[in-house]
């Protein structure tokens, strides 16, 4: 699949996701907005990257570009070395709100993607049941979203995303609508699921602790126009060689240093 691209770029396989000199301008009657400026970075297969920045830094725009909802004004957005041309089943998107359809049951919600993509619905149904059950929603397959708590709804939304079997997950502040307790628990749970399944994930958030606790790298953006400010490798050596869960990571001694560095960087930019 990647062969022709790989040969074009030498021996190394292309990164899973790559932004190459991406610029995005929005146009409106009142003027133009330079939302993303000269953005270049890449994410490797199986990596978890958080993007932080103040509002207006274009972080959600990056996800829209990756998911194919928007095209860059210039530059290239590449997945597996190929330009993104539109929404693909390979990319799963989780939004701020769980956006479950209240007229569908949890199971039917999970089947929305397969229905839209005209996939084999029998297989999709089995898959959805298995995924939702493994997320602890087995008894709620035929409940409507209104009957579920916020955390359960967010897990159902993840189930809907996973039912498409994406290998890249885009998370646009998916925990911001939850209360603090649920938020920590769900972030940990979803983080675990994503790592266990070896998905590549990009999390956009303005919650610095969340960004550090979940990711392998944190990308900091500066606002208006959104530019890459810095990239921080996150590792918790004090807790051993394996990556700790996001809950444990918050207690690691390195955590505070990362937090302080990133917070200062964001603050300095006004």
């Amino acid at each position: 699949m990647n062969k022709e691209v790989a040969s074009g770029w030498g021996r190394k396989a292309p990164p899973k996701v790559e932004f190459r000199n991406v610029n995005l301008r929005y146009f409106s009657e009142s003027g133009e907005t330079h939302a993303v400026k000269d953005m270049s970075f890449s994410v490797d297969q199986g990596e978890f990257v958080s993007i932080v920045g103040q509002s207006g830094c274009g972080k959600s725009t990056l996800l829209s570009l990756l998911s194919g909802l928007m095209r860059p004004t210039d530059g290239q957005v590449l997945i597996d070395g190929k330009p993104v041309t539109g929404p693909s089943p390979q990319v799963g998107f989780m939004l701020q709100q769980d956006t479950l359809f209240e007229w569908r049951t949890i199971l039917e919600n999970a089947l929305l993607g397969p229905e839209i993509r005209n996939m084999d619905l029998v297989a999709a149904r089995e898959r959805a049941e298995r995924i939702l059950t493994s997320y602890g929603l087995g008894q709620f397959l035929h409940h409507t979203p209104g009957q579920l708590s916020g955390g359960m709804r967010q897990r159902a939304a993840l189930g809907r995303t996973m039912c498409m079997e994406p290998d890249i997950l885009l998370l646009d502040e998916p925990f911001s609508a939850l209360d603090f307790q649920t938020r920590l628990a769900i972030a940990e749970e979803i983080g675990d699921i994503i790592r266990r399944e070896g998905k590549t994930a990009i999390l956009v958030t303005h919650d610095i602790p969340e960004a550090i606790a979940m990711a392998d790298r944190v990308v900091v953006l500066s606002p208006r126009p959104g530019r890459l400010k810095s990239i921080h490798e996150i590792s918790f050596d004090s807790l051993g060689p394996t990556r700790p869960s996001s809950m444990d990571a918050r207690d690691a001694e390195e955590f505070r240093d990362y937090y302080h560095t990133i917070w200062t960087e964001m603050e300095n930019h006004g």
Binding site: F93, W103, I116
Partner: protein, 278 residues
């Protein structure tokens, strides 16, 4: 309607918890008394109105010829039934209402969908729709009569009256669909038509029902006005005919039947709504 709903719900909850406390029992009995009071007050209001309507004309406090009175209306109703073929008049009006109501809903929904699918078309047509909606359709009755004849004009007025509001209500509802749900469907690969069928339409069942309810009244208005202008049958005809020969009892009887019809259709729609929204 609200009354009956709570009447069903409150006792249903009671047996769920094993022993209801004394305070809860008291609360329940207070609620029951409240409901009874409301029902009683309604009955009293109706009875007072009917009694006043009956007594005042008979005591010559008002002129009976102008107001008629309930027993006379009842007699008028019986007379209509016996001599004027009332059942036929009712079925003519019902038929006109159902047909124009259906046409307006189907056509209005189709147009609203087209407008949603093509924002450009919506922008072009917007001022015309605004004018079409604001124009009192009743003013068109004479024109419709000349163009379409007595029967055609009745349908035309009734459809014209409810069509624009259908388009407007549905289109507004479509446009207010949660943008996040649409965005989600797009990330899953949905095109415009799939967004319509998977998100916009199922998400607007309540808008559709509200439009249906509004249209019952409106198509009745349209049909009756159409019948006023020119018809040989229907309740509107009976009302005009009754007033021309100064038979207020006949007019009132027709009006009472009309209100019963609209309540009946309203209940049908409500049943449909309960079924559709489960």
């Amino acid at each position: 309607m609200v009354e009956t709903v709570s009447a069903v719900e409150a006792p249903a909850k009671a047996p769920a918890t094993a022993p209801p406390s004394a305070a809860y029992k008291k609360w329940l009995s207070l609620r029951a008394r409240d409901r009874f009071m409301v029902q009683a007050a309604r009955a009293l209001l109706l009875i007072t109105f009917l009694v006043l309507w009956e007594v005042a004309p008979r005591m010559e406090l008002v002129i009976p010829m102008l107001t008629s009175y309930p027993t006379a209306v009842w007699d008028g109703f019986l007379e209509l039934l016996a001599l004027q073929n009332l059942g036929w008049h009712i079925s003519v009006t019902m038929m006109e209402v159902v047909i124009s109501f259906t046409v307006a809903m189907v056509l209005g929904t189709a147009i609203a969908i087209c407008l949603w699918l093509s924002p450009m078309l919506e922008r072009i047509l917007d001022p015309f729709l605004v004018v079409g909606n604001a124009l009192p359709k009743i003013a068109l009755v004479p024109i419709f009569y000349i163009w379409l004849g007595p029967t055609g004009s009745i349908y035309a007025v009734a459809i014209a009256v409810s069509l624009f509001i259908t388009i407007l209500m549905l289109y507004t509802g479509f446009n207010q669909t949660d943008p996040n749900k649409i965005k989600l469907a797009r990330t899953l690969g949905a095109g415009k038509r799939q967004i319509l069928s998977k998100v916009v339409l199922p998400g607007n069942v309540h808008t559709f029902m509200a439009t249906l309810k509004a249209n019952i009244g409106l198509s009745l208005v349209g049909v009756i006005v159409g019948e006023f202008q020119a018809s040989k049958a229907g309740l509107g005809y009976l009302i005009v005919y009754g007033s021309q020969i100064f038979r207020m009892d006949m007019v009132m009887a027709a009006i009472v039947i009309l209100s019963l019809i609209s309540v009946a259709i309203y209940f049908v729609v409500q049943k449909a709504e309960a079924w559709l929204t489960r």
